[in-house]
């Protein structure tokens, strides 16, 4: 089965090609079969590969498969796929959650125009994402990285006949491009120094001789390791929506809801975390940059969570929640708790995909209305959606026993263990805010009286099984996926951490980041985290429970009107960016358009054309059509010729 590893990314690509190029002549059932068959086949092969991989023994725990070497002059990059302990986890998340969301999409997108186009893009996304996680070097990762960016753009702008989605798609693409540029610069620096981009060629070299990359300043006054780490993190900022490049992700909700679940919550946006964890050797040798990563992560976490508590659009709440949770992951990665970061990637993939799909089911029932102010009391009409959504909300809020509790606890534990108490406090407050805004959305959506129009109420219905079955499966995942990484106080060993251990290289002469604490302190932290989460839920219940709608429920908003307006308007970040960046850039662009292009460049060309035309206009008077004039010219020419011959 491992020999078929290369098929995992190729099959969805084939699915995309078949549906995209030939699907026009297929009936809808065949389109659906191709669209679901490709990721299903990938999932089956992936599970087979993972089973064989976990039962076999490989040198350094790495299985590699080289398809061919891409050679151009001195450049030799293998196009190769890699299965190790890290990519195995990502492979499982992407194929499993990806397939479930494909199934869900069949129900959700069933009535939409562009059904075939949608699945063609979604399959293409799967292919690119799998390439990203399976590549054995940074260039293959980058190909996938750009591929998922393209699919993200295409799917955000899926409803291209409306004004906002194409704009949001462009925004996502452009903001991502800023990060991609830094990522490229980092790759160039890496290649210039090592002559290779393959993980297992570079990392052991760095680990064996850390002095070579941490010594003299390389660029920007930073040593090579720090420079590369910084460049890579800027790349991750774009893809994984961290301050200051997070602004595209909330707008990305303009795409269809399953896309938000798959691309903008479960998989693509975690690519930055994956990349940082993958490059852990480099980050361990760049302590300053790592701390920067942690600070940005913590800041993003609390900032996005604060916006999330005031949004009224159910998808916007989840979008800011995603940004916030991604911040958590970077907080962990920056503190050196790489396994905690990836653990949160995994649990988050389950419960956030579940929450998004649940919101999609709600929106489906509400005939496309996303405003929570119009909802309420939906638990009677959508029982399956209600139960699964609450499970997801409990998981993300960090209620003990569910997935989010263990992963979030491990991150907070790492923050406390590393002695960065400010970061720990920020993480803890974020946890409280998370519990609050999630249950705010639960109460507003599912409890109380229905506040929408009569027509909407009449139309309320539970979603078809193709949508509810993935919800149930993901709900199970949102409960149990945390159990693979129980902390040491609850089981003899943290199995997730042990599984990931071979991937975390330790550079020579550098102590591993220690997050060990006494058992009592660990228990205390766990209790504090739990209390904060339950406190958040209680505040949400006090404000929005007890049959209250948005209007009556916003006690805190009435008391803090300025804060509420700030949060509702997302701290006016988009407006600030507009003034500071977008408008100056537009002004410069207009200068280059109107002055440099239209006046200087076009002017020069038009002047040339004008001169040519003028010469022609004057010259045409010589061609009178009168033969005798031509004879005269000829005669004068001959005289000149003789003159020249005689007197030169």
């Amino acid at each position: 089965m491992l020999g078929l590893l290369w098929l995992i990314p190729i099959l969805p690509f084939a699915g995309a090609a078949i549906n995209g190029l030939l699907g026009k002549w297929f009936p809808k059932s065949v389109v659906t079969a191709v669209a679901l068959g490709a990721p299903l086949a990938s999932l089956v092969i992936a599970l087979g590969c993972l089973w064989e991989y976990s039962h076999g023994s490989f040198p350094n725990g790495v299985y590699e498969q080289t398809l061919y070497a891409w050679t151009a002059g001195d450049l030799n990059i293998p196009v190769a796929f890699l299965l190790d302990h890290l990519s195995a986890v990502m492979l499982f998340i992407v194929t499993f959650v990806g397939f479930l969301i494909h199934v869900y999409s069949v129900g959700y997108m069933g009535h939409e125009e562009g059904y075939r186009r949608y699945f063609s893009y979604l399959n293409l996304f799967m292919s690119a994402m799998l390439m990203l996680v399976l590549g054995n070097n940074y260039l293959v990762m980058f190909v996938g990285w750009e591929g998922v960016g393209l699919c993200s753009y295409l799917l955000i702008g899926f409803y291209y006949d409306q004004p906002f989605p194409p704009y949001a798609g462009k925004k996502a693409f452009i903001v991502n491009r800023i990060g991609d540029f830094a990522f490229l610069v980092g790759m160039f620096a890496l290649f210039a120094h090592f002559g290779s981009l393959t993980y297992h060629e570079i990392f052991p070299k760095i680990a064996a001789d850390p002095g070579a990359v941490t010594g003299a300043p390389y660029a920007l006054g930073l040593p090579l390791a720090s420079f590369i780490a910084l460049c890579f993190f800027v790349g991750a900022m774009g893809k994984s929506a961290q301050i200051p490049l997070y602004v595209w992700l909330p707008d990305a909700m303009a795409g269809p809801t399953p896309v938000s679940a798959l691309i903008h919550a479960a998989t693509m946006v975690t690519a930055g975390v994956y990349m940082v964890v993958r490059s852990n050797v480099i980050y361990q040798l760049a302590p300053g940059v790592s701390l920067f990563v942690a600070v940005i992560g913590a800041a993003t976490a609390i900032f996005a969570a604060s916006i999330g508590i005031a949004q009224t659009d159910i998808k916007k709440v989840l979008a800011y929640s995603t940004v916030s949770q991604l911040g958590y992951m970077f907080l962990a990665a920056g503190l050196g708790a790489y396994s905690a970061a990836l653990f949160h990637v995994m649990t988050h993939a389950f419960f956030k995909a579940l929450l998004f799909l649940g919101s999609g089911s709600v929106i489906h029932a509400m005939s496309g209305d996303q405003d929570m102010d119009h909802m309420g009391g939906l638990r009677k009409h959508l029982p399956a959606t209600f139960i699964t959504y609450v499970v997801g909300a409990l998981a993300i809020a960090g209620v003990p026993g569910l997935a989010g509790f263990f992963s979030k606890d491990e991150i907070l534990h790492a923050a406390a263990g590393s002695g960065h108490w400010v970061l720990w406090a920020v993480g803890l407050i974020t946890a409280g805010l998370t519990a609050f805004y999630m249950f705010r959305s639960v109460y507003l959506t599912f409890f109380g009286q229905f506040r929408g129009t009569h027509e909407q109420e009449h139309h309320l219905h539970e979603s078809p099984p193709s949508m509810t079955i993935p919800l149930w499966i993901l709900a199970v995942g949102a409960v149990v996926s945390g159990w693979v990484g129980l902390p040491k106080v609850l089981s003899e060993t943290n199995r997730f951490q042990d599984w990931l251990a071979p991937v975390i290289l330790h550079p020579a002469g550098l102590a591993a980041a220690e997050h060990e604490m006494s058992t009592g302190a660990e228990w205390l932290l766990m209790v504090v985290t739990t209390l904060v989460a339950l406190g958040g839920i209680y505040v949400a219940w006090a404000n929005y429970g007890r049959d209250k709608g948005l209007a009556e429920g916003q006690h805190w908003a009435a008391r803090l009107p300025v804060l509420h307006r700030l949060l509702l308007n997302k701290w006016y970040v988009d407006e600030i960016y507009d003034v500071l960046i977008v408008r100056p850039l537009a002004a410069i662009s207009r200068f280059f358009w109107k002055v440099v292009d239209t006046f200087v460049i076009d002017g020069a060309i038009n002047a040339g054309a004008f001169l040519t035309e003028l010469t022609g206009d004057v010259g045409r008077f010589s061609t009178t059509g009168n033969v005798r004039n031509y004879a005269l010219y000829f005669f004068l020419g001959v005289i000149l010729l003789f003159w020249w011959i005689a007197f030169r």
């Binding site: 061609t623 009168n626 033969v627 004879a631």
Partner: protein, 101 residues
């Protein structure tokens, strides 16, 4: 007593100038044609004058070629003028201005 070569050349130059002026100024196609013949024969005169001066035959032989070419040219040219006359009932070259740019 032989005639000096300069006389021949002078005569030739005068003939050529008359031919050139005629070719440029006449409007009648036939007249232009005759003027061109005059220029050709002025050239011929120069050739034979030099041939006599240097005692070589090359110049005289070239004159035969020129006469042969002139005959061919006359045949083609006259045919063209007849064709033009049939079309337009005139051989006034001022009326032939279809090449105007």
């Amino acid at each position: 007593m032989s005639v000096p070569i300069s006389w021949y050349l002078l005569l030739s130059a005068v003939l050529f100038a008359i031919g050139a002026i005629g070719a440029l100024t006449r409007r009648n196609g036939i007249s232009i044609f005759l003027s061109v013949e005059l220029m050709l024969n002025a050239a011929n005169l120069t050739l034979v004058a030099y041939a006599r001066q240097w005692g070589q035959h090359t110049g005289q032989i070239i004159v035969f070629f020129v006469m042969a070419v002139a005959a061919a040219e006359a045949a083609v040219g006259l045919a063209l003028f007849i064709a033009v006359f049939r079309q337009r009932r005139t051989i006034d070259v001022n009326r032939m201005n279809l090449l105007q740019g």
